[in-house]
Amino acid sequence: MATQAPPASTNPPTDAPDAIVVRFAGDSGDGMQLTGGQFTLSTALAGNDLATFPDFPAEIRAPQGTLFGVSAFQINFGSRAINTAGDAPDVLVAMNPAALKVNLAALKPGGLVIADTGEFTKRNLDKAKYDANPLEDDSLAPYDVLAFDISARTLEAVEPFGLGKKDGLRCKNMWTLGLALWMFDRPREPLHDWLNKKFAKAPDIAAANIAALDAGHAYGETAELSAPLKQVHLPPAPSEPGLYRTITGAEAVSLGLVAGAQLAELPMFFGGYPITPASAILHHLARLKEYGVTTFQAEDEIAAVCAAIGASYAGQLGVTSSSGPGIALKTEALGLGIMTELPLVVVNSQRGGPSTGLPTKTEQSDLYQAVYGRNGDAPMPVIAARSPADAFEVAIEACRMATQYMTPVMLLTDGYIANAAEPWKVPDPEGFTPFPAKFLEEPRGEELLPYKRDEKGSRPWIKPGTPGMMHRIGGIEKDANTGNISYDPANHQHMTDTRKNKIANIEVPDQDVAWGEKTGKLAVVGWGSTYGPIKQAVRRSQDKGCSVSHIHIRHIWPLPKNLGELLSGFERVLVPEMNTGQLKTVLRDQLLVDAESLTKTSGQPFQIAELEAAICAYFDGAQGNEGGQVAANDQQLPSTVEASE
C-alpha cells in the first residue's frame, strides 16, 4: 500500500514542537510492542522522521503487574531529521502502576503521564511496590497527568462483541493507540486495514479491536477531554524525494543478504539457531524461498555455522547468524572457514554479555570477539552497521567481501539496531553493482592447484561435482599451492603471512567524516548503533562553538587506510562505546593514536545529553578529562541526565 505523504511544511506553527518523544509502557502481555509498531507505521505514513527503541524483558510473560515484567516502546518523531529514539519522553503512557514506576524517572519535567486508573488497584500498587497510589497523592505534581479508566472504557467499547472480560481487556492497547492517533492527528484507516487483515479468520476480534481503537480516538475528540490533552500536528520532515518504508535492522540485514546473494549470483544458504535478538533474521529469511534462500534451523549454533560452511563448499553463499554466546560456539568453525578459505557471512546481533548476560538489551561488547576471538592467527574482516537502514548496505558489503576474497566476514549489529525501526528510502536494485562469484572449472595451468591465489590473494572456489577438479581441503595447514596437508615449517610461516595479508589488503573505502570538519580539536569516533546519539551530540556541541567532528567507522577490520592520517588532524580522540573500550584498544593498537574512552554498559543506548556533556568537558577548560564511565541515571530506560548547557 502506498500513501502520499503531505508536502513538508515550510512554516511550522511556532508553538508546535519539531519533535516529540512518546513512550508506551505496560505489562509484557499488554501488547505494547505491537502498539508501538503500529504507531510507528502511522508516524511514517504521516511523513515524520522517526526512530524507535523497543525495550522489553527477557521473560515472555513475566508475572502480571510486576516491575520486571514491564515492556516499553519509545518513539521519537518529528518534522526534522531524527537520529535517536530520544533522551527523555514528552509523553508516557503507563498501562499499570509498575509501568509508571519503572518509566517515570525518564519522563521530562512537565511531561504528560497518561495512566489507566482501572489498573491502579491495591493489588497492582502492591506489586509495583507503591505504598500509596501515585495518582492520588502529589508525587506526580511535576508532571501533567491524565488518568482515567481505560480498562472500563475499553470494555464498554467492545461490549457488543460478547468478548469476556479477559478477552475484552486485551483490546486496551488498541484503545490507547486510538487515543494516541487522535493526539497526533493521524488517520485510523491504515490501522483498520491492518486489524482486518491480522484477524481475518476471527472477524469478531477484528471488529472489537477496531471498536476499541475508534473509541480511544473518539475519547480524544469529544468533550471528555481533560485539560492536559492537546492535539498536536507535526508537519512532515523534509526528506529526499522517493519511495519510503520503515525498516528494522533485522529486516534490513535479511534484505541486504538477499540482495547480496543476488549480486553475487549465488543461492543463499542460511544456517541459524534460535537466539535473542538474532532470531528475527532467520524468521524473515524463512519466508523468502523464492529468492533462492534455503534456511536451516540447525540443532545448535555449531551445526548452523558448519552447515553454512558445507553449503559454501558446495557452491552457495553460506550465511549464519547469532548473538554473542552463539558466536562463541561457532568460533572453532570460523577458524575452519578461514583455513579452508571459503566464503561465509556471520551476523552477530550483539547483546549484553558476558555469558547469557542481558539477552534483550543492547551492547557493543563483542568487538574483541570479532577481531581477536579465535585460536591461532585467524584474521577475518569485521564490519558494523550504524543504523537499521544502514544494515542493508553493510549486509551487501559483507556478501561482496566474503565471495570476492574467499573468507568468512563478521557483520556486527546489536540488539538496538535489530529491533529499532526507522524510515528507509527504498533503493533501486538497478543501481547496485553486481559482483558475480566465479568458480574454477578447469585447472589454470597444467596442474590443479586449489590454493594458488589470484591478484587479490584469493584462492579459487571449486565446487564438488566439477569434473576433473577433485581435491581435498580441511582444517590442517595446507600446502601453499596444492592444498595438501603440509607440516613444513616454512610453509606454515608463509601461509600464516598469506592469510594475514589477504585480509589486511582487502580494499575498504577511505574513512569520511560523518559530521564536521576534517581537522579540529576533538574527533568523536564511533562505530555501530551509537551513530545517532553521537551525531546529534556533535551537532549540538558544534552549535555551541566546539571544534568537534564525528567520525563513524564501518570497516573495523581492516581499518580504512586513511584513518590514522585523518585522526592525526585532531588534538584529541574520544571513542564512545557500549563496552569497556574495545574499539579504543583497536585504534590504539593499529594506529598508535591516544584514543580516550567513554563507555556505557547499562544495556541502554547512549543518550545525546550524556555524550554532549562528555564532549563539552573537553571545551570547558577541564583538563585531562579521560572520558571514563558515564554516570547516568539509567537503571531503567534512557536516563534523565541533562545537557550541560
Binding site: 502506498a2 500513501t3 512532515p236 524525494p241 538477499v258 529468492y291 534455503t294 558448519c306 536494485p429 581435491h471
Partner: protein
Amino acid sequence: MNAPVKIETTLKDWETDQEVRWCPGCGDYAILKAVQRTLPQLGSDPANTVFISGIGCSSRFPYYIESYGFHTIHGRAPAVATGVKLANPDLDVWLVTGDGDGLSIGGNHMMHVLRRNVNMQIMLFNNEIYGLTKGQYSPTSREGTRTPTSPIGSVDHPANPCAFALGSGARFVARGIDVSKNLPDVLKAAHAHQGAAFIEIFQNCIVYNKDVFDAFAAPKGAEGQQLWLADGEPMLFDKGTKGLAFDPEKLAFTVVDVVDGDWQAAGVRVHDVTNRVMAHMLAELPFDPFPMPLGVLYDDPAPTYESAVLAEREASVSGKEANLAKLLSGGQTWTVDGSAEDPV
C-alpha cells in the same frame, strides 16, 4: 535429484598421490581398500563423490580417496555434510567418523543427521579408543578399560553405536568388520539405501586397543561368533548349527541348536530388515553368550530430508516471482514530494 550417472572406474582411480599415514597394521587400511574396491562396483563418479570427515585417525580418510574431500573439525562432519547435501542434493556424500568424533564430541550432530534422514553413507569406525590423541578411553570403551586417563579402569558405561543410531531414528543400520570380506556388501547396501545409512565398522587399533574385538573378529572361530544377517534368511551361525529363535515369554532372543539344517523345526527366526523392533533387539544383543550380529540390521527407507526441503521449496515458490525491487519496497510505503513510484 538426477539419477546418478554410472561411471567406469578401477580401484586405482580412487587412490590419491598422498602417502597413507596410518600405523602399519591399522584396520583403517583394510577399510580404505574395501571402499576403494566398492566404489567402482557402484559405478560412482569421483567428480560427484564427496568424502567428509571430522577429526581423528578415521577422519584422515578423505585425503586418500581420489574424489572431493573435506576434512572438517571435531564432531561436526554431519553438520557440514548436511549443508553440502542441501546445497547440492545430487552429490554422493560419504561421512567418515569414529567413536569419539561421532558419538562423543559430535554425538549431537550424529543424532540430528540421522533423525533428519539426510541422504548419505555414514561410516563410523569403532575402535573403542581415542587413537590420534594417544589412547584415552572413548564413549564405546568397555568398563574397566585401562588408559592414560583411566589408569585403574574406566567406569563409564559404553555407548552402543547401532542402538544409538536406531534410537535417533535411523532408517538404515548395519555393522561390519574392517578386515571382513563382507564389508563391501554392507557398503553397497548402505549406498543403495536412500537416506542416512549408518554403518558401524569394528576397526582394530593396533597400537592402543589391539585385538579388542578378537572374541568375534579373529578369523579363528569366527563362524561360531559372527551372525551375518540377510534379509529373508534365517538367522543362523556356526555353519548353520545354531540360530536365533524368539522367546515370546521373555520377549527376547534365545540361541537354539539346529539339527540337520532344519532351522524351522528349531524355531529360528527369519531376518526382516524392515522390522524395527527386531533391529533394536539385534543391536542390543549382548555378545557371548550371543553371537555378534553383523550385516544389515535394519533397512526401511523413508523420505529424505533434502527431498522434503526441496518439495517444500517448490510448493512455496510456485506462482511467486523473485522480484528484488518488489521485495525491498514491501509492506506499507509512502512517497515524498510526489515522486511517481507506486510499488503496488
